[in-house]
Symmetry: C2
Subunit: 119 residues, 2 copies
């Protein structure tokens, strides 16, 4: 249903998905990155999820996939200008997390103690 309540709402839908923000972030770190390297960078993803989210980012015009059609297969991913601009908007979140990591860690440890598992 087109029609977002505000700009933030629109952005959130674009980066909806457990790994998309991290993918964008790592793609922004440097030039084109090969699939395997990306897989290693985004720790914890399964191949299925990584492929799936990359494909969505690609159809959304944020990521560009290049298949060199070589043997052995060689494929790399990079950001489109649109994707780059979004990745840049993520930088403050990254900074916030870095600056407050101790605090966040502490709070999450508490939750873990209370609930058994986090959320």
């Amino acid at each position: 249903m087109p029609g977002f309540t505000c700009g933030l709402d629109a952005t959130l839908r674009v980066i909806a998905g457990k790994w998309k923000p991290l993918i964008l972030y790592f793609l922004a770190q440097g030039g084109p990155i090969r699939y395997g390297a990306l897989r290693r960078a985004v720790r914890g993803v399964s191949d299925k999820m990584l492929i799936q989210q990359l494909k969505e980012l690609e159809t959304d015009g944020l990521v560009k996939r290049t298949d060199y059609k070589e043997i052995p297969p060689r494929v790399d991913y990079s950001l489109t200008p649109l994707g780059l601009s979004l990745a840049e908007a993520l930088v403050p979140l990254c900074i916030w997390g870095t600056e407050n990591m101790a605090e966040v860690t502490r709070v999450f440890a508490l939750r873990e103690a209370l609930n058994g598992k986090i959320r």
Copy 2:
């Protein structure tokens, strides 16, 4: 599991939850806001979800809840300094969404046409 892979990862876990970024954003718009008003601002939330996410934000030290212990009930919510700093980090995302809303809308319309439903 304490131990985040990076700052962005830490932040993402804090704002995990469909409505948390929006809640933080609206709380940052002005002074303390009453529950009912917040409910109206965050369009689409159910009472259950709003309460639940507010409680998590509160235990995470991002939101301050004030209960005036009156009858009929009167409660309002505001940001802690930590919450405010996070809300400020969300501003670029909001701007990005606003600037690219047309593009985002178009892309999502395509997805809708292909899949029947989004994602």
